[in-house]
């Protein structure tokens, strides 16, 4: 049985309608899941004896700017058993963008989710320590959002006053 079919069938059987989309772009399988099912899916992919996606390689997000569901959280997971990388997506509503954290499943999600929070302002519920990653504490914006100007917002980052 084809590897992609195996994964898709198993997830489809378990999650049914919660699996919103299955796409296969340039040989990369991508599953789009309803955002309230993300932790269940994560647990399933990790713990299923035939799949064992034990490694979370990356968490990031996309800001679509004009879509009704403005953000998409993107996860890349890897199975040593299958030697396969799978992409998972979950669309998130704006205002405020919230999704459950996958840190209980993959501990490595900790810093990835912090980075995603810093850059996109997506709140991860149940995250153990959701602080900013790159920008200073107290910064009020999220730089990778499409409505953030490239040169930043004047005065939003403090500089030392000029020395004589």
């Amino acid at each position: 049985m084809n590897l992609k079919e195996l994964i898709t069938d198993k997830v489809k059987k378990k999650f049914g309608a919660a699996l919103e989309e299955v796409s296969d772009f340039r040989d990369d399988l991508c599953l789009t899941i309803k955002n309230d099912q993300i932790v269940q899916l994560a647990k399933f992919l990790k713990e299923d004896p035939e799949l064992e996606f034990v490694m979370l390689k990356d968490v990031t997000a996309i800001d679509w700017a004009t879509r009704k569901k403005r953000f998409t959280a993107v996860y890349h997971v890897y199975s040593f058993k299958l030697n396969y990388t799978l992409r998972i997506k979950a669309n998130i509503d704006d205002d405020p963008p919230v999704i459950e954290s996958v840190t209980p499943v993959w501990r490595s999600a900790d810093w990835y989710e912090r980075e995603t929070w810093d850059m996109y302002g997506i709140k991860f519920i149940n995250h153990p320590d959701l602080r900013r990653m790159y920008m200073p504490e107290g910064f009020e914006h999220h730089p990778l959002r499409k409505d953030f100007p490239v040169l930043g917002i004047p005065g939003s980052l403090p500089l030392p006053h000029k020395a004589e």
Binding site: P149, I153, L159, P160, K162
Partner: protein
């Protein structure tokens, strides 16, 4: 310099205190290597035997600001790093000079972005800007020579009795 030839003839020279001090200052500029990114590699190259910054008396790169006169800011300064750069600058004793090495330090360079300070002259008094991305070691040596020329024109008392106002203002 021909100094030794002159001394063997007459045994003494006459000069002014100012010019002796200026000469001593400019011939032993100790740099603070503020190497923040790729420019630092060229700064290191300037210290190697091929380019040999020691020819200008500046081979003593000190990694403590307390012993330096010249800060070579070599690399991209982000808003987060700006606080650190300024803090180190504040710890250097007077008189002190600053070289903005490379495009990033001088103007933000190719990082026209929210996180990079668009020119360190927004928070530091820069004496010499060096063009290049990164500048070649010759270019850094040229900047150093320009600084030396500038120091050569100073008077010893220029830096005496500086008011403490500056120190009070600083964020240390």
């Amino acid at each position: 310099m021909g100094l030794e030839a002159k001394l063997t003839q007459d045994g003494f020279i006459t000069t002014t205190i100012d010019s002796v001090i200026a000469w001593a200052r400019k011939s032993s500029v100790w740099p603070m290597p503020m190497g923040i990114s790729c420019c630092a590699i060229e700064m290191i190259a300037a210290a190697d035997p091929k380019y040999d910054i020691a020819r200008f008396g500046s081979e003593v790169m000190r990694f403590t600001p307390r012993q330096c006169d010249l800060m070579i800011v070599a690399g991209t300064v982000t808003y987060k790093m700006a606080q650190v750069v300024r803090r180190i600058y504040d710890q250097m004793p007077d008189p002190k000079w600053v070289i903005a090495m490379g495009a990033c330090t001088s103007s933000g360079g190719m990082y026209r972005s929210y996180n990079v300070v668009q020119g360190i002259d927004q928070f530091l008094p820069v004496d010499v800007y060096t063009a290049g991305c990164p500048p070649r070691p010759e270019n850094l040596l040229n900047a150093l020579m320009t600084i030396q020329e500038k120091i050569g024109k100073t008077k010893a008392r220029d830096y005496q009795n500086r008011s403490l106002k500056e120190l009070e203002l600083s964020q240390i």
